[in-house]
Symmetry: C2
Subunit: 473 residues, 2 copies
Amino acid sequence: MNAPLTNELLHQHERRPVPPVMLQALRERFGERCSTVTAVREQHGRDESPFPVTPPDAVVYCLSTEEVAFVVSQASAHGVPVIPFGVGSSLEGHLLAVQGGVSIDLSRMDSVVRVNAEDLTVTVQAGVTREQLNREIKDMGLFFPIDPGANASLGGMAATRASGTNAVRYGTMRENVLGLTVVTASGEVIHTGTRAKKSSAGYDLTRLFVGSEGTLGVMTEVTLKLYPLPEAVSAAICHFPTIGGAVNATIQLIQMGVPIARCELLDANAVRAVNAQSKLGLRESPMLLMEFHGSEAGVKEQAETVQAIASDMGGENFEWASTPEERTRLWTARHKAYFAGMSTHPGCRTVTTDTCVPISRLAEILEASVDEADASGLPYYIVGHVGDGNFHLAYLVKEGDAEQRAVAERLSMQMVHRALALEGTCTGEHGIGLHKMGFLVDEAGAGAVAMMRDIKRALDPGNIMNPGKIFSI
Amino acid sequence: MNAPLTNELLHQHERRPVPPVMLQALRERFGERCSTVTAVREQHGRDESPFPVTPPDAVVYCLSTEEVAFVVSQASAHGVPVIPFGVGSSLEGHLLAVQGGVSIDLSRMDSVVRVNAEDLTVTVQAGVTREQLNREIKDMGLFFPIDPGANASLGGMAATRASGTNAVRYGTMRENVLGLTVVTASGEVIHTGTRAKKSSAGYDLTRLFVGSEGTLGVMTEVTLKLYPLPEAVSAAICHFPTIGGAVNATIQLIQMGVPIARCELLDANAVRAVNAQSKLGLRESPMLLMEFHGSEAGVKEQAETVQAIASDMGGENFEWASTPEERTRLWTARHKAYFAGMSTHPGCRTVTTDTCVPISRLAEILEASVDEADASGLPYYIVGHVGDGNFHLAYLVKEGDAEQRAVAERLSMQMVHRALALEGTCTGEHGIGLHKMGFLVDEAGAGAVAMMRDIKRALDPGNIMNPGKIFSI
């Protein structure tokens, strides 16, 4: 079993700094949009992981695919790393400039390029966030369901193969990206996919880039599937005396094929945290937060089925959130759970797990992980996209406390070990980044990782695209 | 615009025959399961395309992943092509041994390895057919929806990224393969994916192999998603005075988000053919054949919505197929449409198109293509997975009639040109094979195809895996 990557390994990389001639070229082209200011570099050299800040040498704010191509061409010519940056919400060290280089900030590429409402597709620049997209298409009666909690950029979500609360019904970025505009490692621009719903035309480059974490090229535009806003939406919460009860109810409703749109678990610690932050007055016991989409009758029918299952599994206080305001309040609380959990222990950062297992094994891994977390004495909380078999146990460790961090990393490793033994994955939606490189080998095997490396070497022979992530080369 | 590949181009390849020492090794290991009999080789050197038979030098019937690895290791050592073979139902020349070599027949790898009903997953050997799988899991209340019409092998379906009648609701092989066992070009065995529903663990090798048409490795086992048999199923047919009416009804129901399970178009020629073959007595006008899956109430609601839409679009004679027997009769007829269509013109083979466009452009491309087909004087018929924007126009050409073939190829090329202009794809589900290599460049662009080639070269440096397909190297 490989250990997770910890801080000291960050320093094993050789830096490949931006040479003066390249910096000069970037300054000439981008003016003030090329920055070497320390604060800007530091902001781009971190994410939500507990790794220390590891800044790039320069940050360039690009406005177009052509500008990205210019930066990458320069980087290619000078053998300098480039790291695509969206909003900085990733969790596994993806954005750290372990070999120096240029951070390409895509946040100003924030145009919704084209909505094709009649085809249920949209093309966006990579820096558009999911909340912005949903605001812009709401009046057309459409929505984009993928929702990882954070208001991430759609390029970043594609890069990490993100999913979140709606994935149980609508799939992940894997299922919802139709096509991409990509700047390759040599600075060329290619397009993958079409606006057709399906295709058998050659290798699935779209899905090769989705989840490639910036290591194969820079995605600058993303074409996505959209969905009609459901005729009816209702949400419900249900409390359970134990996590096992909540999970067993989930397992049963998934096995029955109930087309539930969202099925989220919060443990008592997470409920306590969101209560404290959002004054919700929820009962502080394990809880499912569910949402149903469909026709009026269909939603009612789903909810009745789920209520009956929940009741069988010891569920209590099944409550409806019938108004949009009440629903928004609950989902806002859910989305804030990550930061709410952190705020219960000021001065802490989280070590967050992301295992995903076949649905029938979910109770087993959750219960064992809770027992271990309780025994460790570390504070923690759990939120889970349990309908997918995916959950996050966030250990709270004091910033800079190496001993606590080591305990959390050991627990995380044990959980991954357990998930792999249950035929699951070390990461359902966060990606490998730096932190899980060892786990990837345990999960996929040396042969499959060698194949990934072969692909990387073929498409990025100079190893300039976000080097040091997913695997070392 | 590139032309489709026609017969003469088949002969531009240099053959790489199996050397005697390798044949000897295969015979020692496989005995009678290694055949060089002409009839066997010819059976393996063709598919349902109009290309002439191009047989391999030898056929090996493998029973296990290890046996496949042995054959590939031999081929790798001797620089000999290998071509994976399922049931031979592909349509684009995928199976032709254009450079000679060994056909690896996987049809005897026909075990359902493991059903995990509680997780809605199954692992099968690559030679299991979709009908066999559905027979074996029916009593567990489960089904596998992907249905390309032919009783194809699941390995072959993964290799061509197949879809078919249920894809409008359940997705294609792209969405329904969870993991693979693959023999790589060097004869190593790797596993991709896990049984978890989603994962962000490294490059999506699973989806790189799905649709790779045997050019990157041999898939020997496939792990698939399953679905609970719906509580209620109903089917309906509706006739329209014009194809445009049928398609516009489809467009509207897709745009409204009706979760229809199947939505198939048959033009008057196709209806005539299935009537003649299956004695159905259907009215010989354009027709939609639809199926609804869900709860009793949900199915009723969907069907009412669709009936109202169809009626608005000029639909007539909306009829229910309420009994399972009646449904089976209709779907059997639909599945036989390909051969029924051919049998209307004995001595003909088909040149079949497979364009897929954004749903709003479907009427436009269909109507223009019908006008062109009518003007050509060639007999033809149309069947379409119109809910996905995908349809097949099959031109019937006399076997060996070069002039008719040329007319059909020209019409096919015009249709692809039109589909690409409408932001669609040249192939929704059949793959590139030999026939559409030129179209792939038109669709994806030279840069994207160069990237596919780079991947191919990295994973198969000896170019032994089904060489000459998708692109020339």
